[in-house]
């Protein structure tokens, strides 16, 4: 049974999540991928405020296809999270609580998740048409000039994800692989 969760993530919710849990996210998530992350970190390095308050928020690593008329968004599945590994620890230290993507995270990101209490959710790579069904609203909130890489604010309803890394150091990729490995 999938757990329904309201965003933003609070400490109590984070404590209840374990690697392998199926979760349905409800509320607001922000979208950013490579170029947007680079800008966010540069902004912090210049001592300037981020274009949105990151405390408690969840970032979805994603760059959608253009929407057809009448639709909030096009295809909207996750991109490979590893490319954000060099940026994520800094954002987690700033208060980021959730990340959505696909693929493995670095040790530095996992350490930041256990230290500051943040989680990493996996979405199904390639299933962008299915993911789009749970996105009710989408607006660009920063770096519009980056096109598909701009920062967006999404409103999602029952957005389906799986907990990959929890605040306790659990890792679904390691656990799942160990369970089904054969010699």
């Amino acid at each position: 049974m999938a757990k329904k969760i309201s965003l933003p993530l609070n400490e109590e919710t984070l404590k209840g999540l374990e690697a392998g849990d199926d979760v349905l996210l409800n509320g607001v998530i922000y979208v950013g991928r490579d170029a947007a992350h680079k800008r966010l970190i540069e902004t912090l390095e210049h001592g300037e405020p981020l274009p949105f308050d990151i405390k408690g928020q969840t970032i979805y690593f994603m760059g959608p296809t253009p929407p057809r008329p009448g639709r909030p968004i096009g295809s909207a599945g996750p991109t490979t999270s590893g490319r954000m590994d060099s940026y994520s620890p800094r954002l987690i230290a700033e208060g980021l609580k959730g990340m959505i993507g696909k693929g493995m995270r670095s040790e530095a990101v996992k350490e930041a998740m256990t230290k500051y209490h943040a989680v990493y959710f996996g979405a199904i790579g390639g299933a962008g048409a299915l993911a789009a069904r749970s996105i009710k609203k989408s607006e660009v909130v920063a770096y519009e000039e980056l096109g598909a890489e701009a920062i967006r604010r999404l409103e999602v309803a029952d957005f389906s994800v799986t907990v990959v890394n929890d605040i306790y150091g659990g890792d679904l990729y390691d656990e799942g692989k160990a369970k089904y490995r054969r010699e």
Binding site: G20, D22, A35, M62, G63, P64, T65, P66, P67, R68, R71, G74, S75, A76, G77, T79, T80, G82, K102, G103, M104, G122, I124, G125, G126, A127, G128, A129, L130, A132, R133, G147, A148, S160, T162, L172, Y173, E175, G176, K177, A178, K179, Y180, R181, R182, E183
Partner: protein, 281 residues
């Protein structure tokens, strides 16, 4: 000499990329269904079911299968008795990519100066084009949008000939293992063996165009495919890396002779969303 209008090429390329990004080939759908039915892991089965649901939604023609509608790879088999008129062939193809990615609401993912400015070219050009000249008076066009996530997990090794068959198997299995959840498993593993560096990688890429799971017609190569397939699926990575028995849907190996000093091996990783469409003009 048979004449083909450049604008026909443009129209066809535009249509093929749009169709490829919305409708997954039936052979791919069939192996995913088989994998879903055979998968031991409940989480893995769930992932494969959702992938199949995604394929159905996309086939309604409104939302592409995946937001990464790829770089636009075009394989041409140009009959030597064909004469392209009314424009040059490669410009016609790039125009087809430009139109197809615009009309089909596909994402434009190509950036210029990849080492520095990374400025989006805004129309997904340039296409990446490979041409073989063949007998006959037809033009075969294969459009293959290829996502970046799986492409990034591809590998090349210039093995020592002494490493032989076992060296090849170990290298391919290690490449899939290290790729883990990144390339959107279950994957199709394209493997090239032999040739030169660039020939080897192209063999691996072209191996992805084969009907999924159809063995290489050479019995020795088919046996190699089976052995790699078994070892890859024993890794336990599973659908999306959540653990399971389906890490690969297929392993396709193609082979070419190599220099006496060389044993090149290339792995081109293909996500489950193995899109390609073709047409003959």
């Amino acid at each position: 000499m048979r004449e083909i209008e450049a604008k026909e090429v443009t129209k066809t390329v535009s249509r093929l990329f749009q169709e490829a990004c919305y409708y997954l080939p039936q052979d791919v759908v069939t192996v995913i269904k088989k994998a879903r039915d055979a998968e031991e892991s409940p989480v893995g089965r769930e992932v494969l079911s959702r992938i199949l649901e995604n394929i159905e939604i996309s086939a309604q023609g409104e939302v592409p299968l995946c937001q990464d509608t790829g770089d636009a790879i075009v394989f041409l088999e140009l009959g030597q008795d064909v004469h392209i008129v009314g424009g040059d062939l490669y410009s016609a193809i790039n125009e087809g990519v430009r139109q197809g990615y615009d009309e089909g609401y596909l994402r434009k993912s190509m950036v210029g100066r990849p080492f520095s400015a990374r400025t989006n070219t805004k129309d997904n050009t340039p296409a990446i084009i490979y041409t073989d000249v063949v007998p006959g008076d037809k033009l075969r066009i294969i459009a293959k949008p290829k996502g970046g996530g799986a492409e990034n997990m591809s590998r090349l090794a210039m093995l020592k000939p002494a490493q032989g068959r076992q060296g090849v198997i170990d290298f391919v299995v290690q490449a899939v293992d290290e790729a883990g959840s990144n390339p959107c498993p279950p994957v199709i593993v394209g493997v090239g063996i032999g040739g030169t560096v660039e020939k080897c990688v192209l063999l691996a890429k072209k191996a992805l165009l084969r009907e999924v799971g159809k063995p290489n017609p050479d019995a020795e190569v088919a046996e190699l495919e089976r052995e790699i397939f078994r070892r890859v699926n024993n890794l336990g990575i599973g659908p999306m890396g959540y653990g399971g028995r389906t890490t690969a849907l297929a392993v396709h190996v193609d082979v070419f002779p190599a220099h006496i000093a060389s044993l090149p091996v290339a792995v081109n990783m293909q996500c489950w969303c193995a899109r390609h469409k073709e047409a003959f003009l």
